[in-house]
């Protein structure tokens, strides 16, 4: 009986995997009708994954009782871990390895690449600028997003429209966003026709000379951050809004009946209830600001304007400079910079576990 159960526990998941595999195989081969392929992919993909979880859960049920609780978490976590290791962990290891090799990954050069990272003038500036991005962008985006979500929650009508407007920039592809901001920052010196950037239009309207905004160090860093805030506030707003909606009405109403002012409601009830979500959103924003490169990349020569950031240097060295060693070493710096954020999150996670 025990043996049979054990066999079942092994065979069923394998069977589930194989069913998925066979259909995946079909999806891979078939290029015929895209609509049908998509349909099948969604049904089989989602249904198949559900089936996989279900089958594995059944399999665990077949195990002797004392093993069950030990194995069960792994069937929920396992598949995701496999995907994560293929798509993210493996590339990370690969990057770390390359960072100790030369430009063409032919031989090991020890710490040379890291020496470059921490001595090169432009790299040091990039690290400084990135720290600025990591602090200012999340603060601005989360504050605006939180304020907006709180206020919009109190609108009787038009909440969806108001939120869509803040969300709008998220729907613009990056190529679109760069054009959008060209229409704001664009600069032409006197004599080269009228300025097509809004800011210089305003300057001229005020009787001032047009300004090459993106070369005004150090302010140009702020001008670039504005773009990021514009694009990302929608994320903070949507997630925080969902969290605010999950605060039970009765608590807020009770506070109001007790005579709490709106500000007190916000300070004492809303913020504490959604604090974990604020942390999540802030973390995500910090990480996104850490990874930002395309805004800097498109908006002028970063080295000339001194607007370099870490991720932009990474792309430049890795893909344009063709120096895989330096590019990878810069990427490793990214991993290092994120460690404090991870520690902070884990600490919070532990506290949360303790409360529960």
């Amino acid at each position: 009986m025990f043996a049979l159960r054990l066999v079942g526990a092994v065979v069923i998941p394998i069977a589930a995997f194989y069913t998925l595999w066979v259909t995946f195989d079909f999806l891979r081969d078939s290029e015929a009708n895209r609509v049908i392929v998509v349909g099948v992919a969604v049904v089989v993909g989602v249904g198949g994954v559900f089936f996989l979880y279900w089958a594995m859960n059944r399999a665990v049920e077949l195990l002797p009782e004392r093993y069950r609780e030990g194995v069960r978490p792994w069937i929920f976590v396992g598949p995701a871990m496999v995907l994560l290791s293929v798509f993210l962990v493996y590339p990370v290891i690969n990057t770390i390895l390359i960072s100790f090799k030369d430009a063409q990954s032919q031989s090991f050069v020890g710490l040379d690449n890291f020496k470059f990272v921490f001595t090169d003038e432009s790299m040091l500036r990039a690290i400084r600028n990135t720290l600025g991005w990591m602090i200012l962008v999340p603060v601005a985006a989360v504050t605006t997003g939180l304020a907006f979500a709180t206020l919009a929650d109190r609108l009787r009508r038009g909440e969806a429209v108001a939120k869509s407007i803040i969300f709008l920039p998220m729907a613009i592809s990056f190529a679109g966003a760069s054009i959008t901001w060209r229409l704001i920052y664009s600069f032409r010196p006197a004599g080269f026709g009228s300025n097509i950037g809004l800011l210089n239009g305003i300057m001229l309207g005020l009787g001032q000379n047009p300004v090459d905004w993106l070369s005004q160090h150090p302010w140009n860093n702020l001008y670039l951050m504005v773009i990021m805030v514009w694009m990302q506030t929608g994320f903070a707003m949507v997630v925080l809004s969902a969290a605010i909606k999950s605060i039970p009405d009765e608590i807020i109403e009770a506070a109001r009946i007790d005579g709490a002012s709106e500000w007190q409601v916000f300070r004492r009830i809303i913020v504490p209830s959604i604090l974990p979500t604020i942390v999540v959103v802030a973390t995500y924003m910090v990480i996104n600001s850490l990874k930002v490169f395309d805004i800097v990349f498109v908006m002028g020569n970063a080295e000339l304007n001194q607007t370099e950031v870490i991720a932009e240097r990474m792309i430049r060295w890795f893909f344009i400079g063709q120096d895989y060693g330096k590019g990878a070493a810069i990427a490793v710096v990214l991993f290092i910079v994120v460690i404090p954020v991870m520690v902070w999150n884990v600490r919070r996670f532990r506290e949360e576990e303790m409360i529960r």
């Binding site: 049979l4 066999v7 079942g8 065979v11 069923i12 394998i14 069977a15 194989y18 069913t19 595999w21 066979v22 195989d25 077949l62 430009a103 063409q104 990954s105 032919q106 600069f187 032409r188 010196p189 006197a190 004599g191 080269f192 026709g193 090459d212 993106l214 070369s215 990349f297 498109v298 908006m299 002028g300 020569n301 970063a302 080295e303 000339l304 792309i315 430049r316 060295w317 890795f318 893909f319 344009i320 400079g321 063709q322 120096d323 895989y324």
Partner: protein, 435 residues
């Protein structure tokens, strides 16, 4: 228990089914060596989609009756796309505009040499010239076939107003400077200059520098310069930099002043030439710039061009271009390359208006070209190549850290910081050269 048995049975059936299926696949995968004819050749180029469409059209017409299809792909982000797909192994042929990055690709992306493809290098050298073939030379093997070139040493001017004002097309540097002084004396501004090009800001400035370098230090020194056989702050380079600065910083020469050139988009720069009366009269830029001119401006009437004039030594013209690199050694790729280099394809390619492509193939006649501007520039280039004084854009030949990095940045910094900054900037560029 019955359900369990049923499930086990089902799984065994599936297992067997899966195994069979897997075997089938293996059979398909190991059907032949890597070099088998896959029936498809992809060609990745740093061009606009219209241009890729035009090339595709030519391919569809001229490459017929073969057992493969050709697909031209326009890369929006060429450097990155080539690195990623080259290393991933999903490229067949690329048209590389910066031969400086060729050696790197040979190592990282395992390019196939022309020798291994079975080409006779001597024959290719007879068609394209040895200096041009040598651009693709890595460790004694050749990796690049020149497929198209474009002229960079062009100075554009508003023809009708220019003639009306009684100005003459200059043929020497001194005449050009005299013309500039004349324009200033007439109360106008001679030059329109803009170096901004988003993340690549600075490249038009390096073209200026190269044109002057080639005509003051001569082709031989120019070669030593891009190979870093002389330092970047060699007296010959300093001299060229000074002459460049003499034009840019000369009071009244540049519309808006030199310090504004790094912020002005290179595509916007020529526009004041088309004002009435023109706000500037001269604009140095490569052949593709007329795509940015106002839509109603007519070539030969509203604007025309003359070659960058000679200076102290024989040198020029300066040109850019593309070399084809191969990543898969298979019969259909070779067949495609043969046809691509052939006169039919090259002549048809010269007829694309949007592309401003000049064929490096000597057998392509001037009647192939889409318009007079292209035909004329082909003539200038052919003479330069014949004389052995024409040179490829140096920044495209230098390692990317310099050619697409410190050289660009250094030249625009020079514009911002003025004549006294030149020595320091050239020294910085020299120290940025990868060891």
């Amino acid at each position: 228990m019955r359900r369990l048995r049923l499930l086990s049975l089902l799984s065994i059936v599936l297992l067997i089914g899966g195994a069979c299926k897997a075997k089938e696949n293996e059979g398909g995968a190991t059907g032949g060596p890597k070099e088998a004819n896959t029936g498809k050749v992809n060609v990745l180029a740093a061009v606009e989609p219209e241009e890729a469409d035009a090339l595709q059209g030519i391919a569809d017409q001229t490459i017929t009756g073969v057992d493969y299809t050709v697909e031209f792909e326009a890369a929006g982000n060429f450097e990155q796309d080539v690195q990623v797909r080259g290393q991933g192994g999903t490229l067949d042929v690329i048209l590389l505009p910066q031969p400086g990055s060729l050696p790197g690709l040979v190592t990282s992306a395992h390019a196939v040499s022309l020798e291994d493809m079975g080409y006779d290098i001597g024959e290719l050298e007879a068609t394209f010239g040895k200096p041009f073939m040598d651009l693709g030379l890595v460790d004694g093997k050749h990796y690049g076939i020149p497929t198209n070139i474009n002229l960079k040493s062009m100075i554009w001017y508003p023809k009708d107003d220019f003639d009306k004002a009684g100005y003459k097309v200059p043929t020497t540097w001194d005449e050009l400077m005299a013309l500039s002084d004349q324009i200033v004396a007439d109360g106008s501004t001679p030059w329109c200059v803009g170096f901004q090009s988003e993340g690549s800001t600075g490249w038009p400035a390096t073209d200026w520098m190269e044109d002057i370098m080639l005509r003051t230090a001569g082709p031989d020194t120019y070669d030593q310069w891009y190979k870093h056989e002389i330092p970047f702050d060699d007296p010959s380079v300093v001299n060229a930099g000074k002459m460049f600065g003499d034009v840019m910083f000369h009071p009244g020469y540049v519309l808006g002043g030199a310090e504004n050139t790094p912020g002005l988009a290179f595509g916007d720069a020529p526009l004041p030439m088309f004002d009435n009366p023109p706000k500037c009269w001269l604009h140095r830029q490569a052949s593709f710039i007329n795509a940015f001119f106002p839509k109603d401006a007519k070539a030969g009437v509203d604007y025309d061009w003359f070659p960058f004039p000679s200076m102290t030594t024989e040198g020029g013209p300066l040109f850019g271009g593309e070399v084809a690199m191969v990543f898969r050694n298979s019969p259909e790729v070779k067949d495609f390359l043969d046809r691509f280099m052939g006169t039919d394809f090259q002549c048809a390619m010269a007829g694309i208006t949007a592309a401003s492509r000049i064929s490096p193939n000597v057998n392509v006649g001037s009647d192939c070209y889409a318009n007079q501007i292209l035909a004329d520039s082909a003539e200038v280039l052919k003479e330069g190549l014949k004389a052995g004084t024409a040179r490829f854009d140096a920044s495209d030949l230098m390692p990317a850290a310099v050619g697409s990095g410190s050289f660009w940045t250094g030249m625009v910094k020079y514009m911002k910081e003025g004549p006294s900054s030149l020595d320091g900037i050239l020294k910085d560029i020299d120290s940025s050269w990868p060891s």
